[in-house]
Symmetry: D2
C-alpha cells in the first residue's frame, strides 16, 4: 500500500483547515497541492499558525499541476464551483471528493429550487456517489466522484435511517431540531457572526427551507423505500465552536419498542467504527465527539406521545465535513477506514 498525494482545493476556510489537520497525520496520503486564490503564495502557517513547520504554501488552483501531482482532490469550495474543477480532474484520472453541496442532490430541480441557480454539471451528478460510508460504503469503494454529505444531514440521516428502514417509525411528521456551533457558518466575516453577536445568544434561523433540507429528505426517503417524504428541519445557532446536536422526533409505529429500536441501531452500526449508539436512557453530547469523526446517538421512546426521540451529535467539521471526506478516501483507496481519524 504505497502513499498517495492529495490536493485540497479551496483550503482557506474551516473545512480546509480541518482537512490539513487530519491529512498531516495520515500515513498513506500526503498533501501535494493546497490552493487558495486569496492567499496565493502565502505559507499556510501565516493563515493557520497551527501548521507551522508543515512547509505548506497556498497556490492558485491549477488543474494541470494538480493532475500531475495528485491522485485525489478534495474540493472545499462554495457551491456552484465544484464542477469546474471536478470534470477536468476526473478526466485526468483523479478521484474527486467534494465537500460542497453541488453533487449531493440527485434532482437538479431541487438543486435549482434551493440554491437559486441552475445545476452547474448535471451529467457529472449521475456519477456522484453520496459519501455517507455507513449507508453507501460499497458504492464508495469504486466511486470516482464522491459527494460528501452536509453536516446537518450527516447527523440526521445517521439517526433516522435505521428506524425508517426497519419500519419502526412513520415517514410522516419527522422533525429535526438541530443546534450547530458557529464554525458551521464557515470562516465568514459578517456582522451576525462576530463574537458579541453570537456569545450569550441562542437563536433559530432558516427554520423553513434551509438548503440542507432536500438532502435530508432525499436520503430519508431512500431509507424508507419511498420516493418522497417531507420533514421539518429547524436549525439553531449556539455559542460553541464545533459540534452539532440533532434531536430527531419521529412517530413510533404501533409495534415499535425500545428493544426493537436498540436492535435496529445495533444491526445498522455494530460494525461501524464511527457511530456510537448509547445504551437506552443516555443522551449524546457534542463535547464527547468534538475533534473526532464519531457520531454519537442516544434514543428514547416517549410513551406519553408515542414518539421516538433520538439525539445525534457530531463534530460538524470532522464527521460533518473533512473527517468524513477522509473516511471516504480511505475506503476508496483501500486504506484502513480509520487511518488519520483516531
Amino acid at each position: 500500500m504505497s502513499g498517495i498525494k492529495a490536493a485540497i482545493v479551496g483550503a482557506s476556510g474551516y473545512s480546509g483547515e480541518e482537512l490539513i489537520r487530519l491529512l498531516l497525520r495520515h500515513r498513506h496520503c500526503q498533501i501535494g497541492v493546497i490552493t487558495s486564490r486569496q492567499y496565493d503564495g502565502k505559507a499556510v502557517e501565516t493563515v493557520f499558525p497551527r501548521f507551522a513547520g508543515s512547509g505548506l504554501v497556498f497556490s492558485n488552483p491549477d488543474i494541470k499541476q494538480i493532475a500531475e501531482q495528485c491522485q485525489v482532490a478534495f474540493l472545499a469550495l462554495p457551491h456552484g464551483l465544484a464542477g469546474e474543477f471536478a470534470i477536468p480532474l476526473l478526466d485526468a484520472g483523479l478521484k474527486v471528493i467534494d465537500i460542497s453541496a453541488d453533487f449531493r442532490l440527485r434532482s437538479t430541480a431541487k438543486y435549482q429550487e434551493y440554491y437559486k441557480t441552475e445545476h452547474p454539471a448535471p451529467d457529472l451528478l449521475k456519477k456522484a456517489v453520496y459519501g455517507l460510508p455507513e449507508r453507501y460504503r460499497e458504492k464508495i469503494k469504486s466511486a470516482d466522484m464522491i459527494a460528501c454529505p452536509g453536516c446537518y444531514p450527516t447527523s440526521i440521516i445517521l439517526a433516522a435511517a435505521p428506524l425508517l428502514e426497519s419500519g419502526l417509525v412513520s415517514t410522516k411528521g419527522i422533525i429535526s431540531s438541530s443546534i450547530s456551533g458557529v464554525t458551521g457558518a464557515g470562516r465568514k466575516v459578517d456582522l451576525p457572526f462576530i463574537f458579541p453577536e453570537c456569545n450569550e445568544s441562542v437563536r433559530a434561523y432558516s427554520v423553513s427551507g434551509h438548503r440542507h433540507l432536500p438532502e435530508i429528505e432525499q436520503e430519508l426517503a431512500v431509507a424508507a423505500g419511498i420516493s418522497e417524504l417531507a420533514i421539518n428541519f429547524i436549525p439553531h445557532l449556539a455559542p460553541v465552536n464545533r459540534g452539532i446536536n440533532s434531536t430527531v422526533i419521529m412517530d413510533a409505529e404501533p409495534e415499535c419498542t425500545i428493544d426493537k429500536i436498540a436492535e435496529a441501531y445495533h444491526n445498522a452500526y455494530h460494525r461501524e467504527r464511527f457511530v456510537r449508539v448509547l445504551p437506552h436512557g443516555k443522551l449524546s453530547d457534542t463535547k464527547y465527539v468534538t475533534m473526532t469523526n464519531v457520531c454519537e446517538i442516544g434514543f428514547t421512546l416517549d410513551k406519553h406521545t408515542s414518539k421516538v426521540i433520538v439525539t445525534s451529535t457530531i463534530d460538524n467539521l470532522t464527521k460533518g465535513a473533512s473527517g468524513q471526506a477522509i473516511q471516504n478516501m480511505n475506503i476508496r483507496f483501500g486504506f484502513d477506514e480509520s487511518e488519520g481519524l483516531l
Copy 2:
C-alpha cells in the same frame, strides 16, 4: 401609593439574586427581610458582591419577623417547602408570590407523578393563581397566593396559547424544542454543571417527562378550551448564562394563514409591555431579551409541512422567574406594571 416591604425567602440562588437586583431598583417596594439558612448572618455582599452597599444581611427564615415587617413574601425555595412558609404568611395577611413549582399544577395527582412526593399543601393549591400576567392578570389583581410559572412554561405558553385559543393550530402533536442557559439549573454545585462540562457542549436532557411538562400541558389545554392535551417538551442545555429559546412546532389548521397568526398575536399582546411579537420572517434571539422582562416571539408558517413554527425567547431568571414575580407584585399592589422592570 406608599411603599411596601418584601421578604425574599431562600435568597441564595440565582432567582434570589435576580430578585434582589430588581427590587433594589424598585421605587415602591423595599427589601425588608432576606433569608438563607446557609448564609445566616452574612452580609448579602459577601455572597453577591454586586450588592455591596445595600446593607442587606441574610437571616434565618423567621415567619413572625417576616409577618411583622413585610407586606409581601417572595418564596424562592426548592419544591416541597413553599407551603410551610406560605400558609402562616397568608394567615398573617401577607401576599405570597411563589417562584417554586409547588402551586403551579392544579392536579395533585400530576404533582405527585412528576415530583415523586405527595403535594405538601393541597388546600392552599386551590387558592393559588397561576402568575402569568398576560393570561391571568385579572385574577392576579386580587390573588393572595400567586404561583409564578416555570421558565420553560413561560416561553412556551406565551408562544402557543394565542394560536390554540384562536383555533389556528391543532391541539395534537405540539412539540417544543427548547434550549436553556445554565443558570436554569440553579446555583447547583454538581459535576455536569462545572464549566468544562458545559462549555463547548450542547446536549438534550430529560427529553421525556421533564417536570415542567405537566404545567405546560395544563395551560395549553386551558388555552385550547379542552380538558387535556399531550405535547413533547424537549429541553437542551447550551453554554450561555441566561436565556431560553423555545421553538414551538404546531400543526396548522386548514384555515391558518400568516395574517391570521399575526392577528392572533396582535390581539393577545398588542397592549402587553413585556411581549414583543416580531414581524413575520424575523426570529427571536435570546441576546435581545437577556436582563429584561421581555418575551420575544417570532413566527412562520411552513407550507411544505403545514406547520406553524414559533420561536419564543426569554431571560429565564427575569421573565422566567424573578422579573415575572415582580410584575405580579406590581399588578397585585396596583403599582405600574413595569415598575422596577425597565
Copy 3:
C-alpha cells in the same frame, strides 16, 4: 429640575447601544436625536431589537437639528471626527460629552504620535475636561466639553491614582496587565473578531504602544504630581462580551503597608458610589460589575517582591464608556449622580 434632551451622535456601535439602554431609563433626560449615517431612516429597533417600542429612528447627523432640539450631545464617533460636531454644538450652547479619544490627551504631540494624524481641533482641546468624575468632579460641574476616558484607562487610573497620590508606590516600573471582553473592539466586522476566532482563545495584543497608553501615563503623572512617567500597558482579549480586568503591579515604597493602602483607597473612594474597594485579600471579578457603572478594586501587598498588586474591574461599555458619560452628564446638569445608573 426639569428634563433635558440628548443627542446621540454615531449610535450604531456598542457604546451607542449602551447609551440608549441607559438613557431610556433616565428620568431627567430623553433621547431627542439619534444619528447614524449607515442606518439613516431606520427604526432603532431594526438594528437593536432590544429597543422595540422606543419609537426611536436613526437620522443622518444634522447639527442644526441637534442644536435646536437638544441640550446635550453624546459623541460616539471614531477618532478624528468629534471636533467636527463638537465645535458647532458648543457654539450653539450645548454641552458636549465625547466618548471618542480626541480630547483625552492634553498633548497634541502625543495625539499625533499615537493616532498617526494631526489633532483635529487643538483649540477645543484646551477647554475639554477629562471626564473621570472620581478625579475631576469639580471641573466637570462646569465643563462644556467633557472627554470621557477610555475603558482601559478608567480601570487603571482608578486603581493606581490614590496610591501614587499618597506616595505609597513608586512612579517607576508600573505595569498593567489588562484583559478585555470583545465588545472592547467595537461592533467591528473583521476576521479576528468572528466568533470562532475569539472563542476558546486568549491572546495579548498591542503590548507595546497601545493608543490608551499615553492617556494612562498622563493621568498617572498628574496623580503622582510629576510631569511624566512611563508604564507598561499590556492588553489581552478574552472570550467574554463585556468586562475589563486590569491587574496593576507597582513597586511598594518602603513605608507602604496594607493598612496604608486601605486608607488611601478609603480616603479616595469612601464617598464614591461607583467605586467599590474590597476588603484586603479579596480580588475583583468582572462578573460582579458587568451591566453596572461600578469599578471594583481588590488589592494586596506581596512581601516576597515588595509589589503592590491591584485588580480593578469595570464593564467596558458602562463605567468604561457610556455609563461614565451619563455620570458626567448627571454631574454637569445637577442631576443625582447615579440617575439612570442603578
Copy 4:
C-alpha cells in the same frame, strides 16, 4: 522497538482523560492498567464516553498488578500521594512519570512552605529529574523518576529561560501575568467553578504565593546561573476550557536587541519540535496550540520602558501536563519524541 504497557494511576480527572486520549493513539505504548478509587470497576467510557470501544475499565490501584503488567506508570494524583506509589513501583523496576507537584521542587523547605505539609518522600526527590525536555532532555533519557512541570511553569520557563541564560534580561523584577482556562482547576466540583460563575467572568486569583511560584523561581534561577531569584507570578482565570497564556515581562539589559532575543530563542529551540517561536511582532494565541503539545512564543522589546515582553501559550492539559508526560516517556524509552503527539 517493541511495545510497552503503561499504568495511569488516578485517571478520573482531566489530566487522566488527556493521557488516555493520547495513549490510545500511541503506537508503542498501550494502556495496561488504569486506576480510580472512585470509579473502580466502571468502564472508562461511562465516565468519558469519548473512549467508547476502548475496552478500558477502571480498577482500584494495586501496586503488584501494575508492577507485573507495566513498564511505566503515569501518576496523576493529588499532591502528597505520589511517593506512596512511586517508591514501590521504582523498586519493581518501572519508570515513573509523575504529573503531581510532589517531585518538582528540589527544596523540601519550599515544598513545606507552599504545600503546608512535610515532603512525603525526600529521598526520592533527589532522584527525580525535572521533566521539561527542552531543558533536561539528556537527564530524562536515563531518569527513572520524572517529575513533570506544572502547567504555568512550563509556559513561563520556556519563555524566560533562554533570555536569562544569554544574559539579555535582568534576573530582577520578572513578572508573569498568566491566564488559564478552567480545566486548569481540575475536574473539581466547587461553586467558583460552575458554569455561571466562570462564564462571562475574568478574574485574578492567588496573585501572591501561588503554589507554582517556587517551581518557576527554581528553574529561572537555574537558567540564570544563580542560586535564587524572586518573581511575581499572577494567574487569572478566563472562560475557556483549555489553554494558558503567560505574558512575561522582563527588564532588558543594555545590550539587548530584538535580533539578540531572536537569536537566543533560535539557539534554544530551532531543533525543538514542540516550541514554535513566532517572527518578531507576532504574538501567540492559545487557540493555535490547544489540543497540541506545542508551546508558541511571541516577543517584542518595548523601547519606551526597556522591557522585553514575551507571550507564551500552551494547552495546559497537553504540553502543560499529559502531552509533556508522554514526550518524557518517548525520550526515556527511545521512541520518536513526537510519537502519539502529532
